[in-house]
């Protein structure tokens, strides 16, 4: 008989959620995909401990997570580097030892993988917590015991993953025209790609809110709500785009001028309030 492997949560910081790749394919029922905001870092954290990429990790926003284990567990973090813990390299948390993630100096979201995966009960096929719809497992809180699954795959024996880390400087990401490009036209596209935006503190898992010069709309009137995906740059009447992340609404009623490149959305999920962002056009119409 094996004892239940668990991670005991002592503190969570501003926001810690359980995440995986979400619940794709159910948007027609009004169920958004959700999942890790920075999918590449989630995938990497899992890889470092020998997990299948679909196993659940903890998405830690701005550090602050404190954990203990009852028996030795192999963990790894990826994404934003938190002081106080090894990063991009697997390590063992021994019983009685305390893991305490400090505040990252760059980047926003850290993915903590445990060998075997966070094994909370899935909801509609996923362990992701969707902060917009409220679907998924509850947010971990102090005192919670998070179940850990049984490792099914061999340990990869990796020392360290050589990948670039999120940096605190200006980020440049690629954009392509979206379905409502014509509501803004070439002039609006120039405004979008010709300025430096700042991520605001209103940003969350739903989207990155941007401050800058408002975009000029060519066309008045309302859009009939339509389906949108992660990476959409939706422009509300303020003229300031919102970049949709994992927990974006299934449909939206404001025009989407463009889409951020799918891989670059992961990098945008690491934007901190006050950090600068530029859009670079990869394709013109």
């Amino acid at each position: 008989m094996t004892t239940a492997r668990t991670l005991r949560v002592l503190e969570t910081g501003p926001l810690t959620t359980v995440q995986d790749f979400g619940r794709p394919g159910q948007s027609a029922l009004g169920i958004g995909r959700s999942g890790a905001c920075d999918r590449a870092s989630h995938r990497l954290a899992n890889a470092l401990v020998g997990n299948h990429p679909t196993l659940a990790t903890l998405e830690v926003t701005f550090g602050g997570l404190v954990l203990e284990a009852d028996e030795p567990l192999v963990l790894a973090t990826a994404g934003a580097r938190c002081p106080g813990a090894p990063h991009l390299a697997p390590f063992t948390l021994s019983p009685g030892e305390r893991l305490s993630l400090g505040t990252p100096a760059a980047g926003l979201r850290t993915y903590l993988a445990v060998r075997g995966g966070i094994d909370v009960d899935p909801v509609l096929g996923s362990r992701a917590t969707d902060v917009l719809s409220g679907l998924g497992p509850p947010k971990p809180g102090p005192g919670d015991e998070l179940p850990v699954g049984d490792p099914a795959r061999p340990h990869p024996g990796v020392d360290v993953a050589p990948v670039p880390e999120p940096d605190a400087g200006r980020l440049t990401v690629r954009v392509t025209p979206g379905p409502r490009y014509d509501w803004f036209g070439d002039a609006g596209w120039q405004e979008l790609t010709g300025q430096v935006y700042t991520a605001t503190s209103e940003s969350n898992r739903v989207g990155v809110r941007l401050d800058g010069d408002p975009l000029t709309r060519l066309r008045e009137g309302e859009l009939v709500s339509e389906g949108m995906l992660r990476g959409a740059l939706q422009v509300p009447p303020s003229g300031l785009p919102v970049l949709f992340l994992a927990d974006h609404p299934v449909t939206g009623g404001y025009p989407v001028i463009g889409y951020v490149d799918d891989l670059d959305v992961d990098r945008c999920a690491q934007l901190r309030p006050g950090q600068e962002l530029r859009f670079s056009a990869t394709r013109q119409r």
Binding site: S27, A28, A232
Partner: protein, 202 residues
């Protein structure tokens, strides 16, 4: 049908009206094209979500070649939703429409509703009628809390709130069933394309 870009894994199909959306949605579901992960119908569009390996321009051509379904209404029996017509806005709304409360209730009950699309919240269906011309003004001040199960009207639509949420629709009653239940498959009772009849709970 207009095919509009929506990122590396999506195409937005735009149609003239909701009837076209429903006809194409039924046909595309039936066609089950490879590489298509999800279809998201809305008021005038269908978002086609693809997997990573799908060539969007090739898919665009294939999508254009799928003819719309000739009858949007399936032969299946309508979903019956038991309701009580006891909403807070029932009296005022009937006045606004120049109807008596029983007349408004009768219109709503005898209407043949179809789920056009979902959105706003998991399991929130936007239902359109075919017998009457529904054009219902929203409340001038939205409520911060609409109770779960509320049966409501706004614009051309009726719907049932799956959970407590803010909302500006006119409340005319409440449903006696959960329209969203995680233990049901699918969890949403009112799925796009389904026909719906509201029956008064006894």
């Amino acid at each position: 049908m207009k095919v509009l870009p929506s990122g590396a894994h999506g195409l937005l199909l735009e149609f003239a009206d909701l009837d076209e959306v429903l006809a194409h949605y039924a046909a595309l579901r039936e066609a089950d094209l490879p590489g298509v992960l999800d279809l998201v119908p809305a008021g005038a569009t269908i978002l086609v979500v693809t997997d990573r390996d799908t060539d969007l321009s090739a898919l665009g051509h294939r999508l254009r070649r799928v003819p719309p379904a000739s009858h949007r209404r399936t032969e299946t029996r309508p979903v019956e939703v038991p309701v009580r017509y006891d909403g807070e806005d029932l009296g005022d709304l009937a006045d606004t429409l120049g109807l008596t409360v029983p007349e408004l209730v009768e219109r709503h009950r005898e209407e043949e509703w179809t789920v056009a699309f979902c959105g706003f919240a998991p399991g929130f269906g936007y239902l359109t009628g075919s017998r009457h011309d529904w054009d219902i003004p929203r409340r001038s001040t939205p409520r911060t809390k609409v109770p779960a199960g509320s049966l409501a009207l706004a614009g051309a639509f009726t719907g049932v709130y799956p959970r407590e949420s803010p909302g500006g629709w006119q409340l005319i009653g409440h449903a006696e069933v959960d329209v969203f239940d995680l233990d049901r498959d699918p969890p949403a009772l009112l799925v796009p394309g389904a026909r719906v009849r509201f029956v008064e709970a006894s």
